[in-house]
Symmetry: C2
Subunit: 475 residues, 2 copies
Amino acid sequence: MTTTRTSPLLTDLYELTMLAGYHHHGMHREPAIFDLFFRETPFHGGYAVFAGLEPALDALENLRFNSEEIAYLESLNLFSADFLDELARFRFTGSVRAPKEGTPVFANEPILSVEAPLAEAQLVETLLLNIINFQTLVATKAARIVRAAGEAQVLEFGLRRSQGPDGAMSVARATCIGGVGSTSNVLAGMKYGLPVKGTHAHSWVMAFDDELSAFRAYARSFPDSCILLVDTVDTLKSGLPNAITVARELRQQGHELLGIRLDSGDLAWLSRQARRMLDEAGFPGVRIVASNELDEEVIRTIREEGGRIDIYGVGTRLATCAGRGGGALGGVYKLVAIRNQPKMKLTADIAKATLPGRKDVWRLCDENGEIIQDVIATPGEQPARGMTVYDPVNPTRYRRLEENFECRPLLDTVMRDGRRTRPAPSLDTLAAFCHQELDHLPQGTLRSVNPHRYKVSISPALHELREDLRRQMQT
Amino acid sequence: MTTTRTSPLLTDLYELTMLAGYHHHGMHREPAIFDLFFRETPFHGGYAVFAGLEPALDALENLRFNSEEIAYLESLNLFSADFLDELARFRFTGSVRAPKEGTPVFANEPILSVEAPLAEAQLVETLLLNIINFQTLVATKAARIVRAAGEAQVLEFGLRRSQGPDGAMSVARATCIGGVGSTSNVLAGMKYGLPVKGTHAHSWVMAFDDELSAFRAYARSFPDSCILLVDTVDTLKSGLPNAITVARELRQQGHELLGIRLDSGDLAWLSRQARRMLDEAGFPGVRIVASNELDEEVIRTIREEGGRIDIYGVGTRLATCAGRGGGALGGVYKLVAIRNQPKMKLTADIAKATLPGRKDVWRLCDENGEIIQDVIATPGEQPARGMTVYDPVNPTRYRRLEENFECRPLLDTVMRDGRRTRPAPSLDTLAAFCHQELDHLPQGTLRSVNPHRYKVSISPALHELREDLRRQMQT
């Protein structure tokens, strides 16, 4: 499987004009650190699931300007020949630190940090945001849906409502990290090794003279993987009785009907009726698949009402990350150090200030491995019991770390000198890791509506640094 | 510029299992017609802007299975060797009828119709929906924003919040058809010939010791295209005074500051203050750019409050098609004829019934070219004054065409025997066409909130056909 080339022109023009400016002023090689973080958890939820790292590292490793791209930039009459020569030789040579994909992450903590010469670190801003923002958002939505579905399986089929071909590929990949086990997208199945699943469309039924003939024909073609869509005519009066007829015929031939799919109407009620009809006919093993504008809230309601659905097919609302606080993850990428000096953006809106300097993020766990909170610290500083830690946004709020805890660093060096430090983990591994980490979060944080706010604090030294810089800037 | 190959595996698995089934039952070559349409106008608005046709035609012309893809399908153990041989020889040989991109289109009318052997028409369902749904949605959002902005320009910079790399490319392309004149996405600039625009980021200011030094440096690098971001420290107390200082210095050197950008705070109020300060300092020509979670509703409010913004930079909410009734266009693709027999889906939910058979769509205009309504008709049937036409969803609602009108067909044959019938029009042409067509819509239809419902009717013969089929199916 070849990697699709990501063009370095997939960037906002201002990255290139800033690069040209840095070059013009001889600043392009100054060492810089940028942090990628978000300020609000998506879906008004308690957590986000970090995703998109491996595609981002692929893009960084292979970022090159080709001659057609240089010629295009020349045609804009904005850039000097010197600068274009520099671009033609461009390589990303920096380091990247990040958590493993699948890690639950929270507002205000760095989820990716780039250390590189200023020009290189600046150029990759748009690219990193494009990949990380969307995949993290989708992985989060997927995790929310999977947790709402409980024991039932979730199948992704958002291809027809995603943002074009590779929007759909990103959806399938990130969705898998968030715990969705299979997809209808065949290309994603091939590229990412995901199980592919499907049933048939209404058009199959309409292509035959009647529903029963259509069902029989499908069962003849796929006797061992037959899932029949039962709502083309009338779910309970036509679809179910015909499906049961076909299930009996299949059984006489030594096969079992795999399932039926409901795609309209009151899914909670219809699934209870369908379950009863199938059970009474002697088919307790036939599974019930449901689809139609599902998301975590609808699924939760269906389960509360005693719906009997075994597999939820989730499309539009997953692929578009619909819902309150959804649609986009507002990740930003901010300069935090240059020439080895910490930098901070200070604005009238305190919530938009940034945390200065190189930082580590520590995740604190109790003796049972249950996650307590995160602490953002300066290099070399490790959280300890009794330490006073501060709110990352509001410097007047603080608390003491009273608990016994162990702590582990969240950010690993995943790229050094422009090369990956280790091979990409498999999506299966990442999905299992995500599942396990979420299970160790405080229960209230997992609640899908009005969750408990997971604590992210900053260390005393980082607090001091921030206060010092604030004082310097305000004088 | 080479076209990126679209893999035929970019499809839902069920398309392939249905294909295998049709092949198994010897139905794959039966002539079929499928219509693509939507049931609800996005954003609760009065119209949608049709887009995505040319990329869809590109994909259809080049749809081929390669050996790696066939081998992958073989590995699924779902498909016979015969069928896989057939796939290896797959070509799309059908016809496509559609409006020109940029055409305002409405609920329940076909916006694309495919006539092809059943297998071919079925296989392309997911691909067509993926491309047309999203581009039409974005073009519509763009048109809404452009109309809200009035005389001000609109600049697209949604790259960092779109669904991955080519999500962003689709956004830039469709946005242009909807009337957004320029983009920050450099690759889209190159690929689609769009003007690229940009300013600089907060990081530019932070990379220098102070804001004034940063502004001076940027102005030295780009003396004739300098737009300064003024909110890094404090918009009115620091950003504007420093920008004015630099504007004076530039003027002494024979250049003019191009603009300033506001990216936070109360944009209506700040833009009025900024305009006053710039004017008083002798810089009435410096343009004011604004950004920060803008969309048609925010822009309208800013203008109502007397905001003085010359250029709106629109990102997240455009790229994600945010807003009430946004997020996704629910386009569907339904079988309407097979073996030259009209087909209709009849469900308990009357709104989900389909219109049977091959159809033309006529657009009726008055003597001044003002658009009156659309009529969906059977082949050979043309709307005439005095004709009784029916609601496309509710057969008990009808009206007489009382007006004098001329009418023109909306659907052109854009592909025949699997080849385009004409070259792709330029995006400029499509954008101009869209602008002009929207101007001829009934005024109430253009209203962004609670618009007048544009009339789409069905002809007497189509009404009869629907009633006949309904009676047949209900007996």
